[in-house]
């Protein structure tokens, strides 16, 4: 199948004004500004097929938001090209944005003074959504996200979690084929996170919506995504399925054993260094075991190891992951 999103070797360098300390330097700066080049996105490529949900992760400052902005058409790449749904986002912005939905968890797109429902109504006019589609989507979404209680409240009175749900609905009312979420679960409680995850999954399954989303919560990734792209300092360092990353890079396994006397023992070991046989032999000879369970590797731990460079990933081939 043809990819719906194609990103080829995009780069974005920010020019940051350098500030030096001291009066002399300040005055000198007035006449001759010094700039520093920040390589926020440094040669990233990938392609995504229709209907995929891709988790986009990386440490703070890795370049995730910058990439999302380029995909949404509100930032020009310095080099490279993007083609999404047949459009070049930054060149055909007006046409293109009708087909996408974007949620920036950190920045609300709702009108602060208006009740939520009126912000939604504005979307109807902005996107020229047919009345029937609008009503249908609105009912479905508000029900799924459990929003009846606060839909008539002005946005400025909403809690973070309520506002976020409002933002998500506002971005999806026009049934976009492609949705970008930049940290949609930031600062939310477990229940709210769960609701949003279920909703994202639901949209993907029922509407075949193609979704990219960034997060720092690995639970989001594990529960929602099939595919994971990891970037660090502007470069892609992993692109593949979640299962694969677990199998390949989960070095440490944890075994929990319950003893006859009711006590619980936990043992963590590195599969590459001590084979499973040895560990088991040791355990069986040492304890009277009532029950045993081998825990699945936590994606959290893997990602931590990757960010802290404790494991080295195989170099990724540009555009891999088909």
């Amino acid at each position: 199948m043809e990819p719906i999103i194609e990103v080829k070797n995009i780069k974005k360098y920010y020019k940051v004004a350098k500030r030096e300390k001291g009066l002399g330097a300040t005055i000198k700066n007035l006449f001759h500004r010094k700039y520093e080049i920040k390589k926020a996105v440094n040669d990233i490529s990938f392609s995504i097929k229709k209907g995929e949900i891709v988790g986009f992760i990386g440490p703070n400052g890795a370049g995730k938001s910058t990439t999302i902005k380029m995909l949404s058409g509100i930032l020009y790449p310095d080099e490279g090209g993007i083609k999404i749904n047949g459009y070049i986002p930054y060149k055909q912005r007006k046409q293109y944005v009708k087909h996408i939905g974007v949620v920036f968890g950190q920045k609300s797109q709702l009108n602060w003074d208006l009740p939520l429902i009126e912000s939604f109504e504005l979307m109807k006019y902005i996107y020229k959504i047919p009345e029937k589609v609008y009503e249908e989507n609105l009912n479905k979404f508000t029900q799924l996200l459990d929003m009846k209680d606060f839909i008539n409240q002005p946005v400025r009175q909403l809690s973070l979690g309520q506002r976020m749900r409002g933002d998500i609905v506002a971005a999806l009312l026009h049934s976009p084929q492609i949705v970008f979420f930049d940290e949609p679960t930031i600062g939310l409680d477990v229940v709210a996170k769960e609701k949003i995850r279920d909703f994202i999954k639901y949209m993907n399954e029922t509407e075949q919506t193609t979704i990219i989303f960034t997060t720092h919560d690995m639970q989001d990734i594990e529960k929602v995504c099939d595919r994971l792209i990891i970037i660090d300092t502007g470069k892609k360092i992993y692109d593949g399925s979640i299962v694969e990353i677990k199998n390949k890079y989960a070095n440490s396994k944890t075994i929990e054993i319950w003893l006859e006397d009711g006590k619980k023992e936990v043992k963590t070991f590195d599969v590459n260094q001590t084979p499973m046989n040895e560990v088991m032999e040791e355990l069986f000879s040492k304890y009277h075991i009532k029950d045993i369970s081998i825990c699945e590797p936590e994606i959290d731990g893997i990602v931590r190891d990757i960010y802290e460079k404790r494991v080295s990933l195989e170099p990724v081939v540009a555009g891999m992951g088909e």
Partner: protein, 262 residues
């Protein structure tokens, strides 16, 4: 068009929720107008006219220009705030023209204030002092068109200054100075009739005269026939010039945003 009208309507409804605010604004408008009328009443002190300008004409000028300048106020820090908190980029994610959206929201606010601020203040001042009636119904209707053109001039001047916040950290000071200029040179503090000839000549080459003074003169019948047409042609010319300038700044600002990322 429907979409933009909807922005205006939403803004109008939105304003309705702040009732106390608008009550205070009526009082504010009434007080400023009455204070100025008192001063001019004293200045006239019983003389029928000064250089052919009667007290009634001055009062009419004040009520229209000052009353409307209160009604035509809107949040001029809007663009700067949006640029500072970064929400400006959200606007580029929507398939609507953000500039028109701003304009129509401001129009919605203006319409609200005309209905709930200007008209009540006008009714109050009618009891307080006497005004000139419009020269004719036609003059009155043409004045309404001319006021709309005046609003666009006022709005475009504000918008141009607002776009400078793409480059400057704060445009608050510039906006304050701009408003002093607009208030003085548009004749809403001192009627343009009483300005020295040289200043009057200079003002006639600026867009400020076209904001309130042209509509006032149409209403009073100071302009008639061909002069009305040329007055309005000048208004339209200024709108065109200002719109071009505004567009240049806006495009450059947006370019800076999408190329440099803020």
């Amino acid at each position: 068009m429907r979409t933009y009208l909807e922005f205006a309507i939403k803004k109008f409804q939105n304003k309705m929720t702040y009732r106390f605010d608008f009550f205070m604004e009526i009082v504010n408008t009434i007080i400023t107008i009455v204070v100025y009328l008192c001063i001019y009443k004293a200045l006239y002190g019983g003389t029928k006219d000064i250089d052919g300008i009667t007290y009634q004409m001055v009062a009419t000028n004040f009520v229209i220009s000052m009353g409307l300048s209160n009604a035509f106020k809107f949040n001029e820090m809007f663009l700067q705030d949006k640029i500072h908190d970064g929400t400006i980029t959200n606007e580029f994610l929507k398939p609507v023209n953000f500039t028109f959206r701003m304009l129509w929201e401001n129009i919605g606010e203006g319409a609200f204030k005309i209905v709930f601020n200007f008209i009540p203040a006008l009714i109050f001042t009618i009891f307080y002092t006497s005004f000139c009636p419009p020269k004719s119904i036609i003059n009155f209707l043409v004045m309404l068109v001319s006021i709309s053109l005046g609003y666009l001039i006022l709005w475009l001047i504000s918008f141009i200054v607002q776009t400078w916040s793409f480059w400057l950290f704060s445009v608050w000071g510039i906006i304050t100075i701009k408003n002093v200029f607009v208030n003085i040179l548009s004749g809403s503090l001192l009627p343009i009739w009483f300005m020295p000839d040289l200043l009057r000549k200079i003002i006639s080459f600026t867009p400020f005269e076209s904001i309130y003074f042209t509509p006032v003169r149409i209403y009073l019948g100071e302009l008639s026939g061909r002069d009305i047409l040329s007055g309005m042609a000048i208004q339209i010319l200024w709108i065109a010039v200002l719109a071009i300038v505004a567009n240049v700044f806006w495009k450059k600002g947006v370019k800076k945003l999408v190329v440099q990322g803020g």
